[in-house]
């Protein structure tokens, strides 16, 4: 499953929201989670990976989940994106 967001936080994705995303992704043990942006795909279970995307406001970011709890994981990640004011869903 996947969903694409547009980054709206003017600082892009920085350490605090990245920490929240990684902590959320890590909760779902049996589910793989990835972040894809600018032609690069990294695991969402790595803060260094997420920060390495160098996301800035206006960039688009796709969150991908694969595994037994992919639906729950993706909706939890979406909640973090929205609650942290990081991004909005790209329709």
């Amino acid at each position: 499953m996947q969903k694409t967001f547009r980054i709206i936080d003017e600082d892009g994705i920085h350490a605090r929201p990245a920490t929240a995303l990684v902590n959320t992704a890590t909760k779902f043990k049996g589910t793989e989670a990835f972040a894809e942006a600018k032609g690069k795909k990294v695991t969402l279970k790595s803060i260094l990976g997420v920060l390495s995307l160098g996301l800035e406001a206006g960039d688009s970011l796709t969150l991908i989940t694969e595994g037994s709890e992919e639906t729950e994981a993706l909706s939890a990640l979406q909640e973090v994106m929205i609650k942290e004011g990081l991004g909005e869903l790209n329709d």
């Binding site: 920490t19 279970k45 803060i47 800035e56 206006g58």
Partner: protein, 570 residues
């Protein structure tokens, strides 16, 4: 006694013995190991100890400094567990049969380089976090016994080359009375932490570490930026008295935080703050600012590789307006050019950038840039008390052109069904002498003036602010400047309008009595100057200052004006 000077980073004075905090030598050698699994186990053990240390630091920071400051250690913990870091290190140990510290250092260096090469300044700084985490694990791998600041158990002044985020977080306020470092500036991490911990600090001394021995008696004067090594008894007494006076003063200032600014004879003025980013609003509130008198929007345009979108700007303006909670926010439209360049605009080099294509001159030609900013401002206007001002206005024609663009964008937004506030005050910066002289004509069309003294002085005196050889001509107290200021204030008042000031001069203790006497309505300064200014104004009578200002206007030189002002109260 030896006295050295640095940058005053956190106010206050501290007297205590020196504690030298030195980071160990991390020279790492590559060695071949035979039992790779033992080496991996060694790494796991070091990670484990580091994890429990970080957990403790995090909890302590949370308790003492709050959630925001503790977040950094939450990220450090995640880095320690990061598969993208740990797996490659273990692979390297196993595949190359090398020592754990070498493998860790190699992999960490790649991440450090990656962060350092990022476009965003924020992400570049994450290299420091990566270094910090790596060093922590390295201590345990190399068996380095490093006396961390957390283990200090008597009153000391910490002396260091620099302090890392985890060093500062471990400083126990009960024992660490102050610190001083070789490197750093007012905005370096250690300085910011010192201010939030309210520990006096002097940074950027260049050589304090080599001048001080452990146990030396040290005075750190975070007000002046001086560090005294082994002072005499008399000096200790002098500084202790200074420290006491400062503590009393702070207590007095804090009482004024939620009070209006009222002179001794009951006249009220407004004390506002100058800000550069939405984050600065916290400081405005903490220091009792009654408004934002100057929001310098150019920071939104700097440090990036393209123009900020309308959305990015809207979010920033909205945040400031909302966080000021209905208090006025004066936003200055883009003031770029002069000493502030934007590489991506690719503007031609000019012989006299201060007299050249900058600020509103640029905005009126590059209307695409200007209109985007105006739209973002207009959309944000419904979220608070927005005031807009145009910088570098030299003629009434320029003001009218800029105003018409604003009105056009407002009409467009309303046609699109967007809500826009109808009570936005529109003003101009007065920083060009032509505008100051013709203020009576401008006052008929603007809602307010804000005098930008830094530029007004340089243009009136024809002296480049950046040129040290003519810096003696930077004379805020020159009667010529005071007369221009008076002309602007009087012109505004004649039309029932108000005048503010947002240059350095507005927060200057020598200028405040004069400005009060000239009738200035709003003083906008750096946030930390607000409480001292409020305290000063509460002791001054506007009626008496009017007499003082009238005398100053009749003097011939800046020196005479200074002597006159310093004479009051004597």
């Amino acid at each position: 006694m030896t006295k050295i000077s640095g940058i005053a980073a956190s106010a206050g004075i501290a007297v205590a013995r020196a504690f030298i905090l030195e980071h160990p030598d991390y020279t790492i050698k590559k060695t071949a190991v035979t039992d790779v699994e033992a080496e991996v186990a060694k790494l796991d053990k070091a990670l484990e100890i580091s994890r429990s240390e970080l957990q403790q630091i995090k909890e302590r920071t949370l308790a003492e400094l709050g959630e925001k400051k503790a977040e950094i250690f939450e990220s450090h913990l995640l880095i320690l567990d990061d598969p993208e870091l740990i797996s490659p290190v273990k692979d390297k140990i196993r595949e190359e049969s090398v020592n754990a510290d070498y493998a860790l250092n190699e992999v960490a260096a790649q991440f450090i380089a990656m962060f350092e090469n990022m476009k965003s300044a924020y992400l570049q700084e994450r290299a420091a976090d990566m270094r910090d985490v790596t060093k922590r694990v390295m201590n345990h791998l190399l068996g380095i016994h490093y006396v961390s600041p957390a283990e200090i158990s008597e009153e000391v002044i910490v002396i260091a080359e620099d302090l890392t985020p985890s060093d500062t977080a471990q400083l126990n306020r009960q024992y660490v009375k102050g610190f001083t470092t070789n490197i750093g500036g007012r905005t370096s991490h250690s300085a910011i932490m010192a201010r939030s911990l309210e520990i006096p600090a002097v940074v950027g001394t260049k050589n304090v570490l080599s001048q001080v021995k452990s146990g030396d008696l040290i005075i750190v004067d975070g007000l002046s930026g001086d560090v005294l090594i082994n002072p005499s008894d008399a000096e200790v007494a002098e500084y202790s008295a200074k420290q006491e006076a400062y503590a009393l003063q702070i207590a007095e200032w804090k009482k004024l935080r939620d009070e209006p600014t009222v002179s001794a004879d009951g006249k009220q003025v407004e004390l506002a703050a100058n800000i550069g980013t939405p984050n600065d609003v916290t400081g405005v509130i903490e220091n009792g600012g009654e408004a934002v008198g100057l929001y310098r929007t150019e920071f939104l345009y700097m440090g990036r590789d393209k123009l900020p979108s309308e959305e990015i700007q809207y979010n920033a303006y909205r945040t400031v307006l909302e966080n000021m909670n209905g208090k006025p926010v004066v936003v200055r439209t883009l003031d770029i050019g002069g000493d502030k360049e934007l590489p991506y605009l690719d503007l031609p080099k000019e012989m006299n950038p201060f007299l050249g294509f900058r600020a509103v001159r640029l905005c009126l030609e590059r209307q695409d840039i200007f209109r985007t900013q105006l739209r973002a401002l207009l959309r944000a206007s419904v979220h608070g008390n927005l005031r807009i001002m145009f910088p570098m206005i030299a003629t009434l024609t320029e003001f009218r052109a800029a105003r018409d663009l604003l009105l056009e964008e407002k009409a467009k937004l309303q046609a699109e069904g967007q809500e826009v506030s109808d009570s936005i005050q529109l003003g101009i910066m007065v920083e060009i002498p032509s505008t100051a002289v013709l203020a009576d004509q401008f006052a008929k069309e603007v809602d307010f003036f804000s005098i930008g003294t830094n530029d007004l002085i340089q243009y009136t005196m024809a002296a480049d602010r950046m040129n040290e050889r003519v810096s003696y001509l930077y004379q805020p107290y020159n009667p010529a400047i005071l007369r221009l200021i008076k002309n602007v204030i009087d012109a505004a008042h004649a039309q029932g309008k108000w005048t503010g000031m947002c240059g350095e001069m507005a927060g200057d203790a020598t200028a405040i009595p004069l400005l009060l006497g000239l009738g200035l309505d709003e003083f906008s300064m750096s946030a930390t100057s607000i409480l001292p200014a409020r305290s000063q104004i509460s002791k001054l009578s506007v009626d008496e200052m009017k007499v003082l200002a009238a005398k100053a206007l009749d003097l011939g030189t800046a020196e005479e004006v200074v002597a006159l002002v310093r004479g009051i109260g004597n």
